[in-house]
């Protein structure tokens, strides 16, 4: 491991290592699509030939369809809630100038330091206490909580990247707090809002650890998959379903990423140092 650009060899070996690392990262996941097209009930080599049969079994499966619809509805509502909270929490944290706002922002990022199983059981106790019981609303609440750190971090770094002078100019020119927020700050951070929404949706759509405790009679898609894992016969169908989910996740994550980067240059042709800072701010969330 050597420093600097002038030591090409060190960089070269590291490059090979990075490629190997990426292969390790992707290979197991890519086996799911591979075997979803394999004409065998067993996920094993040698491959038995190409088939779309497992994808055909996905259609007309009413349990699967209702789980999918359930996941979509919960995902959209939870992502809306988490994004709304992420916007307000981070805005007040940066501009509210109150210890309460800073405290809320700190607590909102706390779930990163709590294992999912404990988030799950604490919400299970809570929803039973307030009489809700395991239900779709309970899942929505759980997913708002799980997605909250992500939305707060994305929105906070976005707001922080908007030059302070823009907001100050709006206030100086007589705009109220509300007008400044709605007409100046929100439009400037729109790409980040959409990005936060999409990632929150993905988190909810894929979430299993917390939802396991909160679901009533209507399972979400990951719970449906979990229930199918017990039956060896349904594994190929799970792989076809998993492939579809992976494809959708990849597309949404890629779009969110593109939007986030577009967001960086949105507020005017920002100077490069500004841009760099934004990028760091965005990545900062793990280290806080």
């Amino acid at each position: 491991m050597s420093e600097g650009r002038h030591t090409q060899r060190g960089g070269g070996w590291l490059g090979v290592y990075v490629i190997a690392y990426l292969v390790f990262l992707y290979l197991p996941v890519l086996l799911i699509p591979l075997f979803s097209f394999n004409n065998s009930i067993q996920a094993a080599f040698p491959l038995q030939g190409f088939t779309l049969h497992w994808y055909a079994t996905l259609f007309g499966n009413s349990a699967l369809t209702s789980a999918l619809l359930n996941s979509l509805v919960i995902g959209v509502i939870a992502a809306t809630g988490a994004t709304l909270c992420g916007i307000t929490v981070s805005y007040m944290d940066l501009y509210g100038r109150s210890p309460l706002a800073a405290t809320i922002s700190a607590i909102a990022r706390l779930p990163i330091l709590i294992p999912g199983v404990i988030v799950g059981i604490s919400l299970l106790i809570l929803i039973n206490l307030i009489g809700l019981g395991p239900s779709r609303i309970a899942i929505v609440l759980g997913h708002i909580l799980v997605a909250l750190p992500t939305t707060v971090v994305i929105m906070r770094s976005r707001f922080a990247a908007i030059p302070k002078t823009i907001r100050e100019a709006a206030l100086d020119l007589g705009a109220s707090d509300w007008t400044t927020f709605r007409r100046v700050m929100l439009p400037l951070s729109l790409p980040a809002i959409v990005s936060a929404f999409m990632l929150a949706f993905l988190i909810s759509f894929d979430e299993f650890i917390v939802v396991f405790f909160l679901a009533g009679t209507e399972p979400t898609l990951p719970l449906y998959i979990w229930s199918q894992l017990r039956f060896p016969r349904s594994l190929p169908t799970v792989m076809a379903l998993g492939t579809s989910i992976l494809a959708v996740s990849f597309i949404i994550a890629a779009l969110a990423e593109i939007l986030r980067h577009r967001g960086l240059s949105a507020p005017a042709p920002a100077d490069p140092s500004q841009r760099k800072q934004t990028k760091r701010g965005e990545l900062q969330w793990h280290s806080t």
């Binding site: 420093e3 590291l14 330091l113 999912g116 809570l126 650890i209």
Partner: protein
């Protein structure tokens, strides 16, 4: 981190209504769903199980049981060892990748960062499931080894072992570790490294004496974000671990499910949170001790 201290501009129009409306959603979620819910767990941990939601009477019997029954020591210790191994494996393997991203990636940096973070946004359940089909008795690894003539018959040695749990978790949480380390490395002023080599330090010396100490905060942050979710995981032990790798998360889940002893499950959760708190404090201390960043 970078809380805005005070803007020079006075804000006379700061309306109370705006503030309340903006603080309300966050306050509701954080105070009710996070603090109050965690408070409930703590409360329940000190109750006796009588089948009702919040139990009856105050007691410390749950904690006495957690501490006195060797089963819980074994399982907690196993969870800690597994989580520590996973953390070590992810951080050590992620460091060179983060290093490459920070110092060598050049124009490919954006693409590589994207590729590294993408798995983060795919289903955790599916990533674990992928390992189940890899490691199974008649699964991918066994059949590939037989097909290529390395092995003559399938082995049971892969699935349902603690090693399988470690590998699966290390793979599932790999993307978590790279970003914090990368951020720490990327923010090291390049002039520091140049100064070291100007003063005659060989590349390895300047890495060991300059780069590594300066990246410690990122390494500790990475260790934390991998350690916390793995120590309480129950999905991976259930899918690839088998009975020999029951973890503390599995026990908590069982107490709130089949075993139906919520107060005891709550006590276990409190114990896990205390263990995590200790680890966080140690990390904080180590950060102050070794994190040479000012």
């Amino acid at each position: 981190m970078s809380t805005l201290v005070a803007t020079p501009v006075p804000e006379p129009r700061s309306s109370q209504g705006f503030r309340v409306a903006m603080l309300l959603p966050g306050a509701l979620v954080t105070f009710l769903l996070i603090l109050f819910a965690l408070g409930l767990v703590l409360f329940l941990a000190f109750r006796t199980n009588d089948g009702s939601l919040l139990g009856a009477g105050f007691t410390v019997a749950n904690f006495v049981m957690v501490v006195s029954d060797p089963l819980y020591w074994t399982v907690t210790l196993r969870s800690l060892v597994i989580a520590a191994l996973v953390t070590l494996a992810t951080v050590v393997t992620a460091y060179p990748v983060a290093y490459y991203l920070a110092f060598h990636a050049g124009r490919r940096r954006g693409l590589l960062l994207f590729l590294v973070t993408l798995p983060f946004w795919t289903s955790y359940l599916l990533r674990v499931f992928a390992w189940k089909i890899v490691l199974a008795y008649n699964g991918v690894l066994n059949s590939a080894l037989i097909e290529s003539g390395i092995w003559s018959e399938p082995t049971l040695a892969f699935l349902n072992t603690p090693a399988a749990v470690v590998v699966t978790l290390a793979h599932a949480y790999a993307p978590f570790a790279i970003l914090p380390i990368y951020v720490a490395l990327d923010t090291i002023p390049k002039s520091l490294v140049e100064a070291a080599s100007d003063l005659g330090a060989r590349p390895f010396t300047s890495f060991r004496r300059v780069v590594l100490p300066n990246s410690m905060p990122g390494v500790l942050a990475a260790a934390l974000v991998v350690f916390v979710p793995t120590v309480g995981d129950y999905v991976t032990p259930a899918l690839v671990g088998g009975p020999a790798s029951t973890m503390i998360g599995t026990l908590i889940q069982a107490e709130f499910g089949k075993a139906n002893d919520w107060p005891f499950g709550a006590a276990l959760s409190v114990a896990v949170m205390l263990v995590i708190l200790c680890v966080v404090l140690v990390a904080r201390f180590a950060d102050r001790r070794f994190g040479s960043r000012t």
